[in-house]
Amino acid sequence: MNIAVDFLLYAVAVPIVAGIVCLIMPEKLKILTKFLALLVTLASLAASVRMLLLKPLYWPPVPVPALIVDNLSALAGLGISFFALIVTVYSFGYIEKNNGRYFGYLLMTLGSALGAVLANNLILLVAFWGFLAVLLYLLVTIRPTAQASASAKKALIIVGGTDALMIFGIGLLWKISGTFAMEGTRVPLNGVLPYAAFLCVLIASFAKAGAVPFHSWLPDVAQDGPASVTAYLPASLDKLLGIYLLARISLNLFIMNGISNSILLIVGAFTIVFAVAIALVQHDFKRLLGYHAVSQVGYMILGIGTANPIGIAGGLFHMLNNALYKSCLFLGAGAVEKTIGTSDLSDLGGLSKYMPITFISFLVASLAISGIPPLNGFFSKWMIYQGIIESGSGKNPFWIVWLIAAMFGSALTIASFIKLLHAVFLGRASERASRAEEAGVSMTLPMVILAATCILFGIFAFSVPVSLLIAPVIGKSISYIGTWSPDMATALIAAAVLLGILVYLLVAPRKARVVSSFVGGENPERFDRVAGTEFYNTIREVKAMGSLYSKEESRSFDIYDLSGKITALFTRYLQKLTNGVLPTYIVWGLIGMVVMFIVFFIRG
């Protein structure tokens, strides 16, 4: 059955050690760090593939091993190493200074993430989880600007704080089940204690993945951190880890019932709609992408919450797909930002002329995230819809709500990305944008690979990803409602596109005269250019949405700010008590002694 192989340990330990080596590499040898990183990530990918093929594995060869590879871990591990490789290649062109520290943290993150998904011991999981939080902080502050520091601090406090909650939850779990080993522990949710443990670990996974209301760090980090870091951590790794934990909780550690599934469904649906609505009016390129990342997490949670095989499979597949197209989008945003120097949407436009490869891969990724067939996003969303319908047919009357929420979110996603594409790539170029040039090979290659994978996963969905990666996790067989044959659909869609192009070429007028508009000698750009963002201003004018937006901007939904304000209240009160006068302090002590006397009197 199980094969004990040492390479599991190496898969976790080598990246961490290599990361430390990169950190302490002397200045002159900095070029070596790039090669070391490339080497290690390649090796890690190879190891993950091997794990996938050889599973199940465990290490060390004792009855309760520390590291285990089962189907879920193999899936997550493959994703983690794949994205590490992609981001490493991208970073060659993107990151110029601080190489040692950057690649060092990157490698250590890879090692810790692998450790977290391979861990069989809950304490080991928590240890790697917390370490990842601080690595996120260090990576975001690679560029020492004030906003990066503030966003990173927020991320650390939210993710690291929920880490403490997770410790509490794991302690409760230990008390219930009596062991720290994850394999073979199944806890029924009957009573306050199991629910409390479930909620605590759930909150930790929500915060890592970025679900509402613990999402507020994600848009900030997306905006202020370097794009490669954003593609690496919040977009792909954190989702992989967060949903991995969620899957562990729902599939392995706890036996779910109606209430816990409903929690997942509610949070998932709310996240989808809320985040996408906010994303519609964002001005900053990366921040907009960040809110979309939050929204996509909702789909994953929704999928797992449906509690039937196809829904869960859909959720997991969506996790993988989301990582693919999200990182592609962020890498594209990074390329744009690097050559133009700004990520404010009003300043961009018309870049398709200057950065064609970026444009094409970005287009593919946008179509994928919107759920356009035959790409991978459509497939996983379709599986999730089926899951909702399955679970609803019979018992749960709310399934209409979830379905509508998911579809509505999808619609808004399309709207948002059309706006994005227009604002950045289409339309007329602004002054700054006309100075753009296509990004280098190291940056375009990863994007192309990711876009191609999106297409492949979509067309060959049945044969490759689902059957190899996802289905083994579920264990039961997945039955689809309705018929969808990707090959047929792709052929039909390709035929339709060709037909459309043919019609355009034949029917569209050939001769047209292009003149510049008459503006009386003024600067034409002021009148000619309509930035993509302005088309959506009408949304703000709808009363309900308008108030929502103003609240979000004033950060009243931000759990981090709220708790900060509440704590500050208590602090002010206590500080007034500490007035600096000596007798006050002695009186406190005497009050303490009186309390002690009372306790002794009552209980003694």
Binding site: I123, V126, A127, F128, W129, G130, F131, A133, V134, T141, P144, T145, A146, S149, A150, A152, K153, L156, I157, G160, G161, D163, A164, L165, I167, F168, G171, L172, W174, K175, L193, A196, G564, T567, A568, F570, T571, R572, L574, Q575, T578, G580, L582, T584, Y585, I586, W588, G589, I591, G592, M593, V595, M596, F597, V599, F600, R603, G604
Partner: protein, 502 residues
Amino acid sequence: MSPNLMIPYLVIVPLAAAFLIIIFGKMTRPAGAIIASIASALSFTVSLMLSFSIVKYGVLIYKVGGWMPPAGIPMIVDSYSALILLIANFIAALVTLYSVNYVKIYTDTWKYFSLLMLMMAGVNGVAVSGDIFNMFVYLEIASLATYALVAFGNEAEALEASFKYAVMSSVASTFMLIGIAFLYNYTSTLNMAYIGKFIEGNRTAKIMSFVSVLFLAGFGLKAALAPFHAWLPDAYTKSPAPIPAISSGVLIKVLGVYALTRLFFNVFGMTKPVSYILIFFAVVSMLGGGILAFGQSNIRRLLGYSSVSQIGYIILGFAIGTPLAVMGSLFHIFNHSVAKSLLFMGAGSIEKTMRTQDIKKISGVISKMPVTGYTSLIGALSICGIPPFGGFWSKLIIIFACIQAGYFGLAFIAAFVSILTLAYYFKAYAPMLFGAKESLSGALKNNRRQFLTDMPMIILAVVSAGSMLFLAPGIMNILMRLATVVIVNGTAYVSVILGSLK
């Protein structure tokens, strides 16, 4: 030489050093620093050797002057004392080395070192004392030295803080003296083992409750347990930078926590009311210290309130009393001493370079002073409970111990305070360490790197980062297990000592 002859050297060496420094310090300038460094290194070596001996022998007793207890005063070292001595002398040696460069800003540095040596003599004395009044005397010696050291720089706030500290602390000491008087009246002996034997039958007598209150108040103040904590943030604000480092790392642990637990576990016996009181005050410390630290803009005050909060964790572990909880507390004592001293030393260096203690005005420490910056980051991460640094493991153990004992609410509060700790540390340290490197008008342009300032910080950072290795089988692990056994076995201490005394 038989190992128990090493015990008095723990007190003799610092005491002799103190007086030698007074003699030679006036003659040659560097005499104070040299003698102090040698003395602290020697006492660390002695404590290290004692730890190894304890593992072999269990209990070591030295009768001062050869007089037989209960008439004579014994110096007793068991595994708990050995552990505390090891931690205390380790930190003290490093702080002394750090001080060598720091006190160059004062004249008459020999006075500083002499007082520091007196403090260490007192601390070591408390840890080895087997007699309750002897413990009190050493406690007073250490405290008096600290009052003078806090006021050393002669700045207005330092003097004010020292006065308040002295008054509050002497009130507490007087309470303790009355407590000792009542205890002597009841048991007719001052030797801790004999006291334990005497009250074995009647632990819950009314007089014992009264005496317990007095001792809890007295030692509670030394340990900076809320509501007796008010002297701590003040005393740390304007004193010379090594003083908060050694006070927070050594004094409040040995004089406060060690003495408290020694008395209440081994001599009096941990009863339910004492346990509840300690839990209550521990929770107040954790929450109060954390909430107050949130609003601080002075880096030293923030670290001071953080100490109050962490002492709450330690006392919580002891109050719960299960073996796992006690182990967690002991490990947290170690982690907190190392990390806090590191942070205070770092704060001292930052202060010297940036010329201010205000958090809002400092930024870019990591780029300007990399050694200080990175070691302070490691120290902060350790206290916040971020893996893989030491504080994570000890907090983990304490939270699990609370859950194991059934105190779910306490475990939740402990986890919540952990979040709070992370919040206020990073709220303060993130802009300080990582902010952009601005040029402050008052900041030193070139930061001179000094070996004796950097090395203690690096050593402490390495120890803090690797402290989870101390949980692995090794000398520390054995020592901690033995210490846990000593504490958990409570009043079995009495029979062990009495057996060894014969």
